[in-house]
Symmetry: C2
Subunit: 333 residues, 2 copies
C-alpha cells in the first residue's frame, strides 16, 4: 500500500543511515511530495550542527528544481534564510513527512516549524513527537497556522531512532557494541568488512568520545583504532584488561591527541557520553547487559574461524546495505 | 535521488518477495505513477498461471480508485478483459515500471503489451528485455504505438530475478539450497525460524518438484518435509545417503501422494526441474558447486550450537524481512 506509512518508512530508512553520526542530535528522516503528491526528495539529518532533516530535504528539492546555490551553503542558519527567500512558492500545497516533530526553537538552526509554515506546505505527517520540551510545540504551531497535521504514523518505529538522543537528554551515557562478522558468524581472521563498512566505522569513531576494547584484542590484533579512513580525531581508548602488559610500541599507543586508559573496571564510562565497544565473544557477552544497542556488519562471504557462542534474544531495529555488507542495529530483549 | 532507478528498485524489491513462488515463470515487479507522477501502486507476479505483474499492479490501482470487482476476479484472462473495459481512462498519461519487458504473446494470459497500449500509458520503463523469443517484442509494439519506452534501467539487478526462469527455458534443472540460521550462524537446535519464514518455506515446497535432504538430518531431526502450514502437495523427497537404514515409522515416509527415494548419487536430479536442498554444514558444502542459489533465513537471536565452518565467496542478490527473520538470496562467486 502506498500510504502515509509507506512514505514514513522511506524516511525511517534514510534516517537510519545516519544513526550514531547525528549524536547528540536524533537521527531524523524527511520526505516531500509536491502538490500533486509526486515524490520529490528524501533526505535526513546528517550530523549535529548541520541542517535538520526538513532543511536538507527542502534543499534537495530546490536543487532538483534548478537552484544551483542552496546546496553549497554550509551554514544552516544562512541556508534557512536563503530558502525563506528563494523557495519560489514551489512548496505551496506540498506535503512533508518527518520521523520527528519539527523543532520549534532556535538552537544551532532556526525553527523548522517556521520553515514548514512559511513555505506553504499544506500538510505535514509526523512520526513521533519531540521528547525535548525545549524544542517541542512545532506541531501545535503548524496546526494553528492551518497546516493539516497528521501525527503518530509508524510512531514506534520512529521512536526507535531516538534512543541515543534520549540518553543524551537524561545525561546518561549511550553505549553500543560493534562487531564485524561473516555470513556464517565468524568474527576473527583478518579484515572481514568491506571498505565502505570500515569507513563508516571510522566516521562513528570520530563521533564517539570513548572506545572500549578488550585487552586480548589489543594483544592479538594490534589494532590502531583511529579514524585514518576519514581523517578526523581519534577517540579516547579504554583497554578493559586485568593485565597491564602490552606492547606499547604498537600504533594504538602513538595516536596523537587522545588518551588511552588500561583499566579493569568500567568506572571510566561515567566520564563519557557516547561510547562504542569493539570486540569479540567475551566483550559482547560481558557488555550485553549494559549496552543500549548492538551494531553488526555482516559480510556476504563465509570463512572458517572463531564464532560467537552466545544465547541471547535480540530485536533487529533496522538493517541496510553498506557496500557488499549488511549493517544491522539490534537491541537486547 | 528519486529517479527511474529509485522506482525500478521498488519493483525489484517487490518481485523478490515472490522469487521461487513464480516458477517456471520469472519473478517480475511493476509499479504505476499517475499522470502527475504520483506513486499509485506497486505489485508483482505472484505465481504461474495467475495475472502478470502489470495486470496485478493495474488491478491494485483500480481497486484504490474504488473498483470493488476487479480484485475478486481470479481468472487472469477475465481480469484482463474486465480491465480493458473498466479502466475509466485512469491511466491516460500514466507511467508504468516493469522489471521485465511486457509479454507480447497469449500464454495463460493475454499480452501485457496490449494492456499497456490500450490503457493509454504515456511511458513505460523496462528493467530488462524478455529473453523468451516467444514472448518478446512488447517494447517494439509499444514504441510503434507512440508510447515512450525507456529500457535497461537497473538491468543487471532485474536480470538477477530471471535466473530460475532462464534455467527452465534451457531445460536445465534449477537447484537452490535453503538453510535457517541464527544471527551468530548456528543452524542446529530445534526451530530457528519464525512462523512467517517456515510458512514461506512450505509455500516453496509446494512449488518445487523435488526436495533433497541429507540422511543424517533425517535420522537426527526426523523432519516431515511436507507443506502442512500451507496445505498444498508435498514434494518428492531424495534422501541423499550412503546408508539405507532409517526409522521408516517417522512421518516423512507417511506423507501421501509423493515419492521418497534413498540414494547415494544425485542422478535422480535429471528427472526433475525445480529442486530445493535442505540441510546443514555437509549438504551445503557438498552442494555449493552445483546449486544455482543459496537461500538463508537468518533469525535475529543468537543461540549456542553447530555453526557452518566453510570457506566460500557469496554474492548477496537480495534480502528482505520475513516476520522477525531476514531472508537473503545468495549466489556463489
Amino acid at each position: 500500500m502506498v500510504d502515509d506509512a509507506f512514505y514514513m518508512q522511506l524516511c525511517i530508512d534514510e534516517a537510519w543511515k545516519y544513526q550514531g553520526l547525528t549524536y547528540p542530535n536524533p537521527a531524523v528522516g524527511a520526505l516531500i511530495l509536491d502538490q500533486h503528491e509526486k515524490l520529490i526528495a528524501i533526505d535526513a539529518h546528517h550530523e549535529a550542527g548541520s541542517a535538520h532533516a526538513e532543511l536538507n530535504v527542502i534543499t534537495k528539492a530546490l536543487t532538483l528544481l534548478g537552484d544551483t546555490k542552496v546546496s553549497k551553503i554550509k551554514n544552516p542558519i544562512e541556508k534557512h534564510q536563503y530558502v525563506l527567500k528563494h523557495h519560489h512558492n514551489y512548496f505551496l500545497g506540498a506535503t512533508i513527512y518527518v520521523t520527528l516533530e519539527p523543532c520549534n526553537h532556535t538552537g544551532s538552526t532556526p525553527p523548522c516549524s517556521l520553515l514548514v509554515k512559511e513555505l506553504g506546505f499544506k500538510k505535514i505527517v509526523i512520526g513521533t513527537m519531540d521528547p525535548n520540551p525545549k524544542a517541542s510545540g512545532g506541531a501545535s504551531i503548524l496546526k494553528n497556522s492551518g497546516v493539516n497535521v497528521s501525527e503518530g504514523v509508524l510512531q514506534k518505529e520512529c521512536e526507535l531512532l531516538l534512543e541515543p538522543f534520549k540518553k543524551w537528554q537524561t545525561g546518561d551515557p549511550y553505549l553500543f557494541f560493534k562487531l564485524a562478522k561473516t555470513q556464517n558468524g565468524v568474527y576473527s581472521g583478518g579484515i572481514i568488512s568491506s571498505l565502505e563498512s570500515r569507513t563508516l566505522v571510522h566516521k562513528l569513531r570520530e563521533k564517539i568520545d570513548l572506545l572500549i576494547i578488550g585487552g586480548n584484542t589489543v594483544r592479538v590484533d594490534r589494532p590502531t583504532l583511529d579514524c585514518r579512513l576519514t581523517g578526523g580525531k581519534a577517540p579516547d581508548i579504554l583497554i578493559y584488561s586485568q593485565s597491564k602488559i602490552f606492547d606499547f610500541e604498537i600504533p594504538l599507543f602513538k595516536v596523537k591527541n587522545r588518551k588511552v586508559f588500561i583499566e579493569d573496571t568500567l568506572e571510566r564510562v561515567k566520564q563519557y557520553k557516547f561510547i562504542m565497544i569493539e570486540g569479540g565473544q567475551s566483550m559482547l557477552e560481558a557488555s550485553l547487559s549494559y549496552t543500549d544497542h548492538q551494531l553488526f556488519f555482516t559480510a556476504s562471504h563465509m570463512q572458517k574461524g572463531d564464532v560467537l557462542q552466545i544465547d541471547t534474544n535480540l530485536q533487529s531495529l533496522h538493517s541496510h546495505q553498506v557496500g557488499v555488507d549488511k549493517l544491522e542495529w539490534f537491541k537486547k530483549i
